[in-house]
Subunit: 344 residues, 2 copies
DNA sequence: GTGAAAGCGCTAACAA
DNA sequence: TTGTTAGCGCTTTCAC
C-alpha cells in the first residue's frame, strides 16, 4: 500500500522547488529539457497523478456535471444517461449521477449538496413529486448562484433554463393517425403514467387526432391510471364491453399488459386489434409480437442536453441565452400493426 | 446571478477573522453565543454553503465513491446501481457513475482518472473486454495506492479484493433440476452472454444437474452465442431437428427470443415446452407468457457491495481483510413452467 | 473568546 | 532556467 505521491515529495526527492516540478509536469517551456526529463521520469516511476481536487479548487471548475434521474430502472432514463455519458466523456467531463426515486426531498437534498463546488452544472429530470407539488425553488436558487441547469423530459415553464423535451403531443397525434390509416375505427388509449407530462401530452395528441379526423371520442376507451394495479383486468373489461380494434399504449408497461390482456382473450394481434406503443424500449422490442412503437430518441436527448450544458459551462453560450430543444420521434413498424406504407 | 459566498467574505462583512467564522459555523464551543448567532444568521441569509472541494482537500476524504458499470441498459446493472445508491445515500456518500460500454480502455481511463483523490473507493464490474484480455493491472495499481475496490458480478481470482457475486452455478443447477422435476426430459440451454461469467457458470450448473440425475447431455440442445444474431432461427432449427420440452434461458434476451421462436412454431408454453429464465428483469415479467425465472438479487448485490466498501473506507474493516460475499438467488414461478410445488 | 498562521495539493505571477 | 510567494476555501493548532 504505497500512498499516492505529491508534487511536493517529488520536489524534495529531486532537490528542486515545487513550482519547478509543477511546470515540468505541465511541460512548460520555461524548464530545461534535462530537468523536465528527470522530473517526468521520476513522476512516472512513482505513478504520480495530479490531485483533481486541488486542481478544481484552483480553477473553480470541476469538470464534472451532476445528473438527476428520477428512476434508473426506467429504460428511457437509462438511455438518456448513456447519451449524456457519451458526450460528457468526449468532452472530458465526469458525471455524478443521483437517483431521486421520484422523491422531492431527495431531489432537493442532492441538488443542494452538489451545488457547492462539486459540479459545474446540472442535467436534471424532476421527480414526479416535484412536478405534483410544483415546488421549484431549488432550481431557482441554483440558477441564481450561476450554476447552469438543463432540464430534460419533464419540465415546467416557471423554471427559466435550457430544456430538452420530446415532441409528445405531435407524436401521439401521429401514432393515433397511424392506427386510423391502418383501418382502425375504435381506438383506445392505455397509460400507466398518469400525472406525468408524457401521459398528459399523449392523451392530448390522441384526442386531437380523433377530433381532426372526425372520430368520436369515447371516454370508455381511455384508460389512464397511475400504476399497473388491475390494469389487465380493466383492459379485458373494456374489451368485453366495447368494440376496439386499435390501442395506443403510452408506455412500455401499458403495452406489455395490453398484449397480455389480448392474449388472455385470444384476440389476434394485429389481425383483430392493432397496438402502437410509445417510448421504444426493451419490452416493446422483445414482446411477442414485437410492438410497433413511437421511438423517443432518449440517447439524442441525453446528448443534446449534455452538449448544451457543457457549452454553457465553458461559456460558449451566454448564461442568459435560454433555449428549449425539441427532440423529434420516429415510428418503428414491427408486428403489432398491419403493414402500412405511409410516411409518418 | 449572485455568486456563491465564502467564509472569507462573511469574515470581512462582519469584521471578524476567518477562523472565527469557521468555528462559529461549526458550532464550536470556543465562540460566544452572540458571535455565533450573528455569523450563522448572516450565513443563512446569504445562503452560505461550504465548498465541498476545500473540505475534501483538507480531510483527504471525498465522501464519494466511484461506480463502474459495463452497460447501464442492462436491467441487472441498473438494479445494482440502485442498491448501491441507496446505501451510499444513507451513509452520506455521493456516487460518481461511469459507464464503460464494455470497453477495456474506457475502464482503465476512468478508473485512473478518478483515483486521484476524487473518490474514496470503487465499486466495479469489469468490462467484457477486460475479462477477455485478462488485463488487471489497473485494479492492482489502484489497490496498491490504498484505494479500496469492491468487485461485483464479474470477478477474477487474480484480483485480490472484496467481491460480491451471484451463486450462478448452483442457481443454474437448481433451475435445470426444476425443469426435470416438472417433467421435462429434453432440456435445452440458450444463452447470448457467451464470454461472460454468467454464461459459463450457468452452463456448468446445467451440465452438473443433467449429469447428477443421469440425463444425457446433448450438445445439439446447447446454444451459446455472443449476441442475438440469428438466434431465433437457430432455436427454431433446434426445435425442428430435436425433441425439446424444456429450455433454460440464461439471460433475458434469450428468454424473449425463445418465446418468439416457440410462438412462430405455434408451440404452447408451458404445455408443450417449459421455459425457465435467469436474471429476473422487466422482459421476463412482462413477456407473454411471463417467464418463470431465477431471480438474482441485484439490489442486494449493490447494497452489500456499498456497505462493504464504505466500511473499508471508514476503516471499520481492515484494508487487508478480503472477503467474497455470495448472493443467493430465488426462483420466481410464473407462467412459462408447469405449476410445481417443490421448494427450490 | 478571538485571531494569526500553517497547511491540504496545486498553479501562476513575479523575482532572481 | 529556477525558485519564491500568494492564493483557491477551509480547518486546526496555538497565541493572544
Amino acid at each position: 500500500m504505497s500512498k499516492r505521491i505529491t508534487i511536493k515529495q517529488i520536489a524534495q526527492a529531486l532537490h528542486v522547488s515545487i513550482s519547478t516540478v509543477s511546470k515540468a509536469l505541465n511541460d512548460s517551456y520555461e524548464i530545461s529539457d534535462e530537468t523536465k526529463k528527470k522530473i517526468q521520469e521520476y513522476a512516472k516511476l512513482h505513478k504520480y497523478k495530479p490531485n483533481t481536487l486541488a486542481l478544481s479548487l484552483q480553477n473553480k471548475k470541476t469538470k464534472t456535471i451532476g445528473i438527476i434521474i428520477p428512476n434508473i430502472l426506467t429504460y428511457y432514463f437509462a438511455r438518456v444517461l448513456r447519451g449524456i455519458e457519451k458526450v460528457a466523456t468526449e468532452k472530458g467531463y465526469n458525471i455524478i449521477t443521483c437517483i431521486t426515486n421520484e422523491s422531492y426531498k431527495k431531489e432537493v437534498d442532492t441538488m443542494q449538496m452538489l451545488s457547492n463546488g462539486t459540479i459545474d452544472g446540472f442535467i436534471a429530470c424532476m421527480s414526479e413529486e416535484t412536478l405534483k407539488l410544483q415546488k421549484f425553488d431549488h432550481f431557482h436558487d441554483i440558477l441564481e448562484e450561476g450554476t447552469p441547469i438543463v432540464l430534460y423530459d419533464r419540465t415546467h415553464q416557471d423554471i427559466n433554463c435550457d430544456k430538452v423535451v420530446t415532441d409528445t403531443v405531435k407524436s401521439a397525434y401521429k401514432a393515433t393517425r397511424f392506427l386510423m390509416k391502418s383501418g382502425c375505427k375504435n381506438i383506445a388509449l392505455v397509460s400507466v403514467s398518469e400525472g406525468l407530462n408524457v401521459s398528459e401530452f399523449s392523451a392530448k395528441g390522441y384526442r386531437k387526432a380523433l377530433k381532426k379526423y372526425d372520430f368520436p371520442i369515447n371516454e370508455n376507451l381511455i384508460i389512464r391510471q397511475h400504476d399497473e394495479t388491475n390494469l389487465k383486468e380493466r383492459i379485458i373489461k373494456m374489451l368485453d364491453t366495447n368494440k376496439v380494434d386499435g390501442i395506443f399504449t403510452v408506455d412500455e408497461i401499458s403495452g406489455a399488459i395490453t398484449i397480455q390482456a389480448l392474449d388472455a382473450k385470444n384476440i389476434k394481434i394485429p389481425e383483430e386489434v392493432s397496438i402502437i406503443g410509445f417510448t421504444n424500449g426493451m419490452i416493446s422490442r422483445y414482446s411477442t409480437p414485437p410492438l410497433t412503437s413511437v421511438n423517443r430518441f432518449a440517447h439524442t436527448t441525453g446528448e443534446t442536453a449534455a452538449a448544451r450544458l457543457i457549452n454553457k459551462i465553458e461559456e460558449k453560450i451566454d448564461f442568459e441565452d435560454i433555449k428549449t430543444e425539441i427532440i423529434k420521434t420516429k415510428l418503428v413498424e414491427r408486428e403489432s400493426t398491419k403493414k402500412l406504407f405511409i410516411k409518418f
